[in-house]
Amino acid sequence: MRPSTRLALLLGWLGYTLVPWYLPEGWDLAGYPFGRAGTALALAISGAAPWLWPIGIALLAATVFAARAETAFSGRALIAVGLFGLVTFFAQGFAITLPGQGIPWLAALLGGAGAAQPGMGFGALLTLLSLLLLLCHGLAYRGFCRGDLFTTSTVGFVVLLIGLFIFLPVATILRNALVDANGSWALGEFSDRLLSSTIWGLGCLGGGIACGVAWNTLMLGLLTGTITTLLGLACALLVLRTAMPGKRLMRAMTVLPIITPPFVIGLAIILLFGRSGVVTGFMSEWFGIPRSRWIYGLPGVLLAQVLAFAPIAFLVLIGVVQGIAPSLEEAAQTLGAKHWTTFRAVTWPLLRPGLANAFLLGFVESMADFGNPLVLGGNFEVLSTKIFFAVVGAAHNQGMAAVLAIVLLVFTLGAFWLQQGWLGGKSYTTVFGKGDAGIPAKLPTFATVLSAAVIVPWVLLTAVIYAVILIGGFVKTMGRDHTPTLEHYRTGFAVDFSHGLFFEGAAWPSLFTTLKVAAISAPLTALIGLLTAYLLTRQRFAGRRLLEFTTMLSFAIPGTVLGVAYILAFNVPPVEITGTGLILVLAFVFRNMPVGVRSGIAGLAQIDASLDEASTTLGARSFTTLHRVVLPLLKPALVAALIYSFVRSITSVSAVIFLVSAEYNLATAYIVGRVEAGEFGLAIAYSSVLIVVMAAGIALIQFGVGERKLGRRPVALATSAAEPAR
């Protein structure tokens, strides 16, 4: 056995014999080593928890092998011991939970019939890690992953994390939808709920009654997808194919949705077009158009989503338009095609896959969006808000929430599947390795005019929206009383210096929690994302394709679904973390992990694998190679991953609105609360503070990570922070 295997074993014994096995209540260690704060060994010996014996036996067996010399047999033995330990560990964890729950027959088999146990704690965590490491080291001894301990351990670790925090929650949703409170199958109830007219009703076609939420969501998604794609295309064509002024401004606009919390646009729209909005007031005073609530419902949500997501479509399509080699169009022209013919016969067909991609992105974003429908929806319900109200509303119907979450998940997974499977094979590669000189074809005049006619109002509207966000916090009541005031900022962010430093503003606690959680989860997200990317691109192991598929799949899980899944999965043992700060961190880490993985894969693709191999043949182990060779070269990807996860942790609403508690409230949840209470001034003031904080955070991360040094000239950081956030 190598020293690191012995260390892993020691960790297991530590967790089994010394550290309290369960999560203590309020750090109360009364009765140690027995009772609630007991260690596994004490509990097993005293007969309080006989089902913990097999885990101890696994550790004992591993210890016997560890004393012996390393042979061909020891790898196989370690694998068997690790597997046995893990299986019994999870078996007892899931079989014996709260009284009356869990898996009765398995509990009886393990000697714990009718018993109950609280959520697992640090002792269990250490033991779990140890068993996992033993299994992975065993695999390494058998020559897996070129016999590298670090690599096999990392694979095991990532698989465990994904299993626990992505698979388990999603599986719990399915279970909640299919099984009733008593734990028996409830297929009848499930199909009733699934086929309910509140989801699929078509009442709106006949006039009168509203349509089902599924149709509302689909319609909104289709409209948002179509409009954002068209706007994005018009914008991309104008920027790349005409001599239009203000191109830099257009590019800068693409960064805005990344640092804007999603519902802020909706908020600004209320302040402009709501019953007492600026524009509404103006219209009623000057033209006598009566004030109305027309903006609440489909028009408002659609407007907000288009404003929020069109920059993303623009970003995708600017890449696609750029990717069309000018020589292709020049070839068409030398063959006698006119401008319009060239556009129709060459440019347009090459654009189509990119358009489909942009459309699906807008579609998925719209369906996953929660903040705007919540703020602007009125009676227009979509799946994400319906899920929210099913969980937190008066009905408190978790089964219904689970069914709705499944419908939403099916929609987004369907769009994702279309994008991956159908488009994956259809995209035309038009960028070749060779440099391609040539001048892009000019846009036909009629297309230019049309694009400009659409884009100019849109850009103006966006500018007005952001002006409202900036100004809104400094006036008494936007739309009614435009007296300048600092009142909203005082309510939220007052600091009392009279007896020492005291953060008296109402918004401080949530802001501090937000920053703390974002600051903790961002590096974790980057770390796990980049590690996973490294495994996916640089290592070969059985199940790599499956791991890749799973991480890609987690792209498609809407935040609302993830949030519901987390409360359903983690408010009961074995993992009982609802209401803690930890669940917020975990939700952010696994919600943002795909971003880390993607920037890691993109970054690693630019680093030749022979650099890793050179380092390995020079005697560096995987960890040293990662630390000395890969990481320094991966700095741009690291920065991108850090910025993304930091910013998305701050702006995210959908996932965390279910997970916040009185003790751990987050900025976005707090703002949504203010909006619901009608305190728009404070909400908008807080939103602008968030935007400033994020800009500062981005600058800090860029500064902290530093630049990648290739040669004496520092290479400018390509942060790629302007990529679409998904």
Binding site: G143, D608, P632
Partner: protein, 348 residues
């Protein structure tokens, strides 16, 4: 750190499979200590995979690999006393020349001062004194290649591996660098495994050559053995040019075979062949203009000191290289060909 002496490498029935694809199929060979052995073959023949198995970058699916008599089959790359010079050089772009060369001893934990002293010594050996502070991007291709060699030499490994080290250099530079590699190997007495697809390069640097084809060893031997006594038509064709002509062995006596090549009767070393159909590999240089086999010049290219001709004869079209440029054979002219004994080998 004790200086490890150059060690032998032994492959016993080693195979490498990726799913259904077999990249290396039941290969056995030995590289003796202090020898330069070349793995030669067309792309996809398994030579690079074989090299990577010596390095430990691939773990063999089957069989046994010994380095210095010690079984390393399952030993990770980092634990093997083997260094490699990569086709792309794989210089760390974020480190200076000195940092690159000192990387090996640094990660071994020898301390910065010691590591840099070792690196400077080897950099001087490859003639890169004064370039320590530069970054790889600021060096020419040839200099980058030397840094890669120096970096691989710093730990004085038991075995040094080269993976097509010259393929990124221009033709003139290649000739110099391969001589330098050979001189370095001989003066330091290194055990070297060298992969290339260029037969001329292989002949120039090797003590012994292993020709690989379709994941198997086609033949191993000294450059001279391979050229003059190819084991089969693949080797004959791959090492140098050869005209492959179908012949029939009439009889074998005292190791000499009686063969009719058109109207010409030849006695050639039988090399284990028995009477029956066989092939004759005829080197283009081994065909002389004179009496014998009649033929007609189809194409003729004047190349300064020699002439390359395609001559159509009753036994097929033959590539002929001749130094007789006076008079210049022209297309359509009748010629008679005869054969030098050492220019023909019988193969299966």
């Amino acid at each position: 750190m004790p200086k490890s002496a150059p060690a032998s490498v032994e492959f016993n029935h080693v195979s490498m499979r990726y799913g259904a694809v077999t990249a290396v199929d039941d290969v056995s060979f030995t590289i003796h200590a202090g020898e330069l052995l070349t793995l030669l073959g067309p792309s996809g023949c398994g030579k690079t995979t074989t090299l990577r198995m010596i390095a430990g970058l691939e773990i063999a699916s089957e069989g046994q690999i010994l380095i210095g008599g010690k079984d390393v089959t399952r030993l990770p790359a980092a634990d093997r006393d083997v260094s490699m010079v990569f086709q792309s050089y794989a210089l760390f772009p974020h480190m200076s020349v000195l940092e690159n060369a000192a990387f090996g001893p640094m990660v071994k934990g020898l301390g910065k001062a010691r590591a840099e002293a070792m690196a400077l010594e080897k950099l001087a050996l490859v003639g890169l004194k004064g370039f320590e502070k530069r970054y790889p991007a600021e060096l020419s291709g040839g200099q980058q290649q030397r840094v890669a060699v120096a970096r691989a030499l710093v730990l004085e490994p038991q075995v040094l591996l080269f993976d097509e080290p010259l393929s990124n250099l221009d033709a003139k530079l290649r000739r110099n660098v391969r001589q330098e590699i050979r001189e370095l190997q001989q003066s330091l007495g290194l055990t070297v495994a060298y992969v290339t697809h260029d037969q001329e390069e292989a002949l120039a640097v090797s003590d012994r050559i292993i020709v690989m084809s379709n994941a198997k060893i086609a033949q191993q031997g000294s450059p001279r053995e391979l050229y003059e006594a190819p084991a089969n038509s693949f080797v004959a064709d791959f090492i140098g040019d050869a005209n492959l002509v179908e012949v029939t062995i009439d009889a074998v006596q005292d190791g000499q075979a009686q063969v009719m090549l058109g109207p010409i009767r030849l006695r050639l070393p039988a090399r284990g062949l028995t009477p029956g159909p066989a092939k004759a590999a005829i080197r283009p240089h081994g065909i002389l203009l004179g009496d014998g086999l009649p033929g007609t010049v189809r194409k003729s290219s004047y190349l300064g000191d020699h002439v390359e001709m395609i001559v159509s004869t009753p036994i097929g079209e033959l590539l002929v290289i001749t130094r007789q440029t006076d008079p210049l054979p022209v297309a359509g002219a009748p010629v008679n060909l005869s054969f030098a004994q050492q220019g023909i080998a019988l193969v299966q």
